[in-house]
């Protein structure tokens, strides 16, 4: 924290040259002096990374104990709990777009909209202590996810606005690595609490709330707000809904969105990957719950290096290469080779796919969106991708039902290859890398 903070407020001590706006301000990116290629990551990015890390510890604590709490703690049957997921996915897309739009209004309220999102999720934690039946618990989880939907685009906008175009890939990489570290730590913390107590679900929720509040505080205290843009004389587009939709008329952003959408249509959801891994490779039951950790670990380790690589060789290239990793993941799941190293290879490639695409896409999209519409623009891309992936899940599930898992996966592999080939032809007018 100290590092992020000291930099946030003393640009003179940092890499930013005197006379430039603070590197932490959401106002604009820092232009690094020539020759200073290896600049430090912007303090705002570190602060946001800390917020995400802390928040993910909090939310993953709850996620990790929730099944046990429902079954063993409350004696409820959790089946059918996910039935509303489909409806919720549509709602979540709207929330995302609304979050992006709200954040852009009034000259950039990214911090406060993101803060509202983090705040809503924090408040949900103690509410879990009061809910003892499925409907209220379902509503609380929906509110929690609404908070997440609300904050994602403004947070990513803040990251992009506080880093230079040349280092954006790395900035997103650092943020995603910190975020994933939190997601890995959360279940561990929850487990330690359950170990120290008897049925200590109340303690898990209380601690999760305290951790979430700390995250919100870091955001409020150490992430600079926007709103200082008034002095800028350059003509600006007013952040209206129409302007947000009008973003899609911009060739670069439209192409990125189409890419994300097409490739999203061929991105099989994680749970299917783990299920296929278990079915096709016979991963023992006791390891099944650990599979997501493999993906997360690879994501954590590779997010920053691949972000940097994207800055150097081009974000689009790395983004497409990431889908190449996914393609190989599918191929490995289709092979009849059953080596003991195969699950590791699959998880490493799956993690690499996320590392090469998640933050990198946001970095690439940032280039095509004007500052005053940054949140809306990123929200459009994220929403397009999320809806495409949801459609893929539905289609994949249906294909599995009709033709079996192998045929469904073969179809996804072919679709991915086709979408990637088409995306490759959609060259932007200029490569994002210098």
């Amino acid at each position: 924290m100290y590092v992020a903070d000291s930099r946030a407020n003393s640009p003179a001590l940092d890499n930013a040259p005197a006379g430039e706006p603070s590197p932490a301000s959401a106002n604009g990116a820092v232009r690094l002096p020539a020759g200073r290629r290896r600049a430090a990551v912007a303090p705002t990015v570190l602060a946001l990374g800390t917020v995400s890390l802390v928040t993910d510890v909090s939310s993953e604590m709850v996620t990790a104990v929730l099944p046990l709490y429902l079954v063993a703690g409350l004696g409820l049957s959790p089946l059918g709990f996910g039935l509303l997921d489909g409806i919720y996915n549509g709602f979540s897309a709207l929330v995302r777009l609304a979050g992006g739009h709200l954040a852009d209004r009034g000259g950039g309220r990214h911090k406060w909209v993101a803060g509202l999102g983090y705040g809503i999720s924090a408040v949900c934690k103690p509410l879990l202590l009061l809910a003892h039946s499925l409907t209220p618990i379902g509503l609380i989880l929906a509110a929690d996810r609404t908070g997440k939907g609300l904050r994602t685009a403004p947070r990513d906008a803040l990251i992009s606005l506080s880093s230079t175009p040349e280092t954006r890939g790395r900035a997103f990489g650092v943020h995603r690595a910190m975020d994933t570290a939190g997601a890995l730590l959360g279940p561990l913390v929850a487990f330690l609490i359950l170990r120290a107590t008897v049925d200590g679900y109340d303690a898990v929720f209380t601690v999760s709330f305290c951790v979430a509040v700390a995250g919100v505080l870091v955001l409020v205290l150490f992430v600079p707000g926007g709103g200082q843009r008034a002095a800028d004389a350059a003509p600006r587009e007013r952040p209206t809904v129409r302007a947000a939709l009008g973003l899609l008329r911009r060739r670069d952003l439209r192409r990125i969105t189409v890419c994300a959408l097409l490739l999203g249509l061929a991105t099989v959801s994680d749970s299917f990957i783990y299920l296929l891994l278990q079915r096709r490779l016979g991963v023992p039951d006791r390891w099944f719950a650990l599979l997501p950790l493999g993906t997360a670990a690879a994501f954590l380790l590779l997010a920053m290096p691949l972000g940097r690589l994207a800055d150097r060789v081009g974000r689009r290239r790395v983004f497409l290469a990431g889908h190449g990793c996914l393609f190989v993941t599918y191929l490995l799941l289709l092979t009849s080779w059953h080596g003991s190293a195969l699950p590791y290879a699959v998880l490493a490639l799956h993690g690499a796919f996320y590392a090469a695409t998640d933050g990198v896409l946001m970095a690439a999209a940032s280039d095509g969106v004007p500052e005053e519409l940054r949140s809306s623009g990123l929200a459009v891309v994220q929403t397009g991708q999320a809806l495409a992936r949801f459609a893929c899940s539905l289609g994949f599930g249906a294909a599995w039902t009709l033709w079996g898992d192998r045929t469904a996966l073969t179809a996804a592999t072919v679709a991915l290859a086709a979408c990637a080939a088409f995306s490759f032809t959609l060259r932007p007018t200029r490569e994002s890398a210098p």
């Binding site: 939310s59 959790p78 709990f81 049925d199 305290c210 505080l217 719950a289």
Partner: protein
């Protein structure tokens, strides 16, 4: 605000938050001590020998506070609220028949808890153990003692994940051969093979022929009673809206929980008995929602658990839907009535 004051604000907030968090953990851990002390007026529990071949006894998981909480415990079936004898074997779920027991228990590891199923002999000695991929839910042993089955809840691996599923396994106790998931079985629905990624099975109950079993199959938001065949590895749908079936000792009826329209989402079930020859459903006298796989105490009586002060209490009610339900034991769950299947038993 200066940097220093921001740091101060954050530090003081963190101190307060840490104090609240610590208090919550301490409060929850203090419960551990209370639960280790037997409460006044509770059932008397002593440790002793528990045998799975002794007829006329009820074996169950003792939920009463004290040193024997969660242990496999026995009482005379004629006096279920009488003094309890605890075995020292801790289980979350338990069932037994013909001298074979199945015990689903938690294994406290360094980084997380895992679960396993123990196959026990008549003296509760472990003869085999298997990994269970999630939170234990149901356990059963075939009347012959030759097969055991269990169901676990698996799920929740995405952000605020709400997709839970079940995994049901069957093991041949003699050979140790395990069917890790019934999802590998062929499903025949109305004469057609059914294939779907969203298939879930739970609540196996065995017939006495070492071949037939019944279970719940859920797919596309509906539940079915299925009859399974261990030899052809096929399940066939028989009836809709049946969960946690329990086959009567004579193999002609199924006691189960039925999702009844118009009830709350949290308490949607009523106990029913289905006659397998006529497919006629009979509602039982219990008016509360029961979330348990019932057991047959004898040809005419169903026993099941309902939430109680110390986790769960056991109740019984007539299988023909008459009479009134009666509480037979407090602080108990997962009951088994020994000697019930003796007439079908080929050995022991």
């Amino acid at each position: 605000m200066t940097v220093r004051s921001r740091i101060l604000v954050l530090l003081s907030a963190v101190v307060v938050l840490a104090a609240v968090a610590l208090a919550a953990v301490l409060h929850a851990s203090a419960r551990a001590e209370r639960r280790d002390q037997a409460q006044a007026g509770g059932p008397r529990v002593t440790s002793g020998e528990v045998s799975l071949t002794e007829s006329g006894r009820m074996v169950f998981r003792n939920m009463a506070w004290g040193p024997h909480r969660d242990e496999v415990t026995t009482v005379p079936a004629s006096d279920p609220s009488g003094p309890r004898t605890a075995s020292g074997v801790e289980c979350l779920r338990f069932y037994a028949a013909s001298g074979t027991g199945v015990c689903l228990q938690a294994v406290h590891g360094a980084l997380s808890d895992t679960y396993r199923a123990l196959i026990l002999d008549a003296h509760l000695k472990t003869t085999a153990h298997y990994d269970v991929p999630g939170i234990p839910s149901r356990a059963r042993v075939s009347p012959t003692g030759h097969y055991a089955a269990w169901t676990a809840f698996v799920g929740g691996d995405s952000y605020a994940g709400t997709n839970f599923s079940t995994r049901t396994a069957i093991v041949d106790v003699g050979t140790g051969e395990l069917i890790p998931s019934l999802e590998a079985f062929r499903i025949v629905e109305d004469g057609h093979v059914h294939r779907s990624a969203d298939v879930n099975f739970w609540g196996v109950t065995f017939a006495a022929d070492d071949r037939t079993f019944y279970a719940t199959l859920a797919t596309k938001g509906k539940t079915y009673l299925v009859r399974g065949d261990l030899r052809t590895r096929t399940v066939t749908t028989l009836h809709t809206n049946v969960e946690c079936p329990s086959l009567s000792p004579d193999g002609t009826r199924i006691a189960y929980k039925k999702r009844v329209k118009g009830l709350s989402k949290d308490a949607p079930w009523r106990l029913y008995v289905l006659d397998l020859r006529t497919m006629r459903e009979t509602p039982l006298a219990e008016r509360r929602s029961v979330d348990d796989q019932a057991v047959w105490r004898d040809a005419d009586t169903i026993v099941y658990a309902l939430p109680g002060d110390y986790g769960a209490d056991l109740y019984e009610t007539a299988a023909n839907g008459t009479g009134k339900p009666r509480r037979i034991s407090t602080a108990a769950v997962s009951p088994t009535f020994l000697g019930l299947s003796a007439r079908n038993s080929s050995d022991s």
